[in-house]
Symmetry: C2
Subunit: 431 residues, 2 copies
């Protein structure tokens, strides 16, 4: 008896799922000892042209999929919050397992969906929601389950990594590279969800909830985007033996957990520094396993489809093994969340100042008053009796840095604070 699945949505990802199930049908059947058949696909527009065809029902009526008693597994790849949320809840009510790639939905309503799955005694899998085909969810939930995860640092947004890589490699400006990325289809017409860090924040909420067994909501994530990064910042970073990446950082420390997405200056020697273009990677530190990293394409029809079909096969295996009582929700703890002012990092501060005596000395004093000292300083003449100064601080509290910056802003010899960027050593410890 084949196991029947229903697919909600036939966009890029849904098409990838169908292609993989069709092209690798033989291998999939051999590996699961079972035929997996697509019984129906929900598609809003039944008349457009499609890349795939097959012996399945194409319908615009969700109940035909959700209420079909023969369908065991629902694959939700329509995206968006509603009606995806309602459909998934209905699927559980009708006794179906669910696989979804919907990060937006999970970051907002993951709790509700996991609870509904547990209540129904059905499985909810979502490997495809973060990092495309990179198996980061299974790794955190199963392969590293013996560890206390102390840090997770990810490059989990392909658009921003493409932009920063091109800016770094080619010395180009943000706006120019963004426009090119939009032309190439690597960035959307409205790129804000990517470049403002929101997409990465959603994924980080999902990853850190699993890594720390404690619910992290989207609102818990501190977020800063990449639009203020200039080619000058990337040139200075290179001078410091570093590069700039949009990092999604989650750390479990004694005082609690901190979760933040922001551009960060990262040493070139760190494995994440050579993750370029649209590739994603997640660096995970566990107390037993030490430093590990998982790398691959973070998006795309087939990579995302790979994760979805693997999740489907996992459910098929469990159905065949008569496995009971799945445990979907793994947030057993309620760990305190650190405030942004308590983050502890080193900072890069780029200032345009009047090129006069004693300016640097005064700056050093202003920072010293907030208990902040410098690890290195670069100063360059900028003409018109102006100089550009890059200050690299030793690690300090974010709150203290903000105080110091207030004094710096008020100092008449400072013309502009051009940028402030956090450092990340990538070592799991505060640097």
């Amino acid at each position: 008896m084949p196991i029947q699945i229903g697919i909600l949505g036939l966009g890029t990802v849904g098409t990838g799922v169908v292609k993989i199930l069709q092209q690798n049908a033989e291998a999939i059947q051999t590996r699961t000892h079972c035929e997996i058949n697509i019984k129906g696909i929900l598609d809003r527009d039944l008349h457009r042209e499609r890349e795939v065809s097959g012996d399945f029902i194409l319908t615009d009526q969700p109940e035909k999929i959700l209420q079909d008693p023969e369908i065991d597994i629902i694959v939700e790849v329509m995206g968006g919050i509603e009606p995806a949320r309602t459909f998934i809840l209905e699927a559980f009510q009708h006794g179906k397992h669910v696989v979804t790639a919907n990060k937006d939905l999970l970051a907002l309503h993951g709790h509700e969906l996991l609870d509904a799955a547990d209540k129904a005694g059905k499985e909810l899998h979502f490997e495809a929601s973060v990092g495309g085909g990179i198996p980061i969810i299974a790794t955190l939930k199963e392969s590293l389950v013996a560890n206390r995860i102390t840090a997770l640092i990810g490059i989990i947004n392909g658009t921003t990594n493409y932009i920063l890589t091109a800016m770094a490699d080619q010395g180009r400006d943000y706006a120019e590279v963004l426009a090119e990325a939009q032309q190439l289809g690597y960035a959307e017409a409205d790129p804000s969800s990517d470049v403002d860090g929101l997409d990465a924040a959603r994924k980080l909420a999902i990853l850190s909830s699993i890594a720390f067994n404690s619910r992290v909501a989207l609102n818990d994530v501190f977020v800063e985007g990449i639009s203020r990064i200039t080619r000058e910042d990337l040139a200075y970073a290179a001078e410091l033996g570093c590069t700039i990446k949009l990092l999604a950082i989650a750390k479990h420390q004694e005082e609690g957990i901190e979760v933040r997405v922001h551009p960060a200056i990262l040493p070139l020697t760190h494995p994440l520094a050579s993750v370029n273009g649209v590739y994603n990677a997640i660096f995970v530190i566990g107390d037993a396993v030490g430093e590990t990293m998982y790398y691959g394409r973070g998006a795309g029809s087939l990579p995302t489809g790979s994760a979805i079909v693997s999740d489907v096969m996992r459910i098929v295996n469990n159905i065949q093994a008569n496995s009971t009582s799945p445990s979907n929700c793994t947030c057993y703890l309620e760990l305190p969340l650190k405030a942004a002012s308590d983050f502890h990092t080193a900072f890069y501060i780029r200032l345009l100042v009047k090129d006069e005596p004693r300016v640097l000395a005064t700056l050093a004093l202003l920072f010293a008053e907030a208990n902040i000292s410098f690890a290195s300083i670069i100063q360059k003449p900028r003409g018109h009796h102006q100089a550009e100064i890059v200050l690299v601080t030793h690690p300090c509290r974010e709150g203290s840095l903000q105080e110091a910056l207030d004094s710096v802003k008020a100092y008449s010899k400072v013309l502009t604070i051009q940028n402030v960027i956090r450092f990340e050593s990538g070592q799991g410890e505060n640097p």
Copy 2:
């Protein structure tokens, strides 16, 4: 009711397992909803000092562990072929699940052990046998299961990677770095299993069997070690924008599968090129997921223990879910194995020749007779009317290359063939 485990062996890895089970006991219990208790440990010498202690029976009588009806899971971390093989078979006979880190045993007797597990309806897990704590086995078996794996390229021996990294970074000689690695404990007193490539070959036999669903025995793996690599080769590799790594390569091509372990010249831009020191990484290409990579410490007490305890927790979850009929053996196919003479790679050939006119032209003719052409050539004077020539061929059949080398050897102007090293583009395709 706690689930009871028995551990065979209390060396480095066994100690790591005990430490993790003790230190992370609370997290482990929360995550499995179950207490995991070490009931007994088999140790040959009951009187030596140990790093760990606890409320377990320490015994030198295997039957006290293997025949204890309370014990559900046996962890085999004694290493070696016998008596480990017999103990594992006995464990299945007594209805126990088994977790092992024993790559030597699996590479030789994996088939027998997996069959015994299937017959007993028990689980056999061995994530720790390859890549320490890197979750490569679970990734191949589960997370990438929707894919047809086309290529797997690994740095899976820490000793050789430490040696080659130090040689490349510091321009030092093989013998000197090996001696240092032995002093630091990164290489054994008899380093042959590592430096001759056998350890990597064992791991590759395990990985490729899983990746291709077709049994690959140790004898099927073509093996060449690193002892002939010199600092000169590394310097030329750098000149070519490359480095040299001991790679474990498995490819699935139309004609069959090829599995080989040998030093290879790899472009510096490839993600594996920056895997340095004792770190391991496995680069996996799947038809759907594309290029992925898994990185971490390939050995050590706690990283290996992380994989073992995670495997134990996986079994505990399955016991609690009443999951039946595990499927351990995944070698459903019998794919043909390519002969070494049919390998298709580019080659680096370093020759010491008489510095006379027409030598290069004659060499080009000798290679052309075997249908081999050059992609690049480096020639340097070596004094005494001698020159060193490095020929980089276009990709060619290994058999043709051997024919050409026979003619080159017979050519009177060639004084020595100093080294021949394969290239690996790391792209999955033949370069």
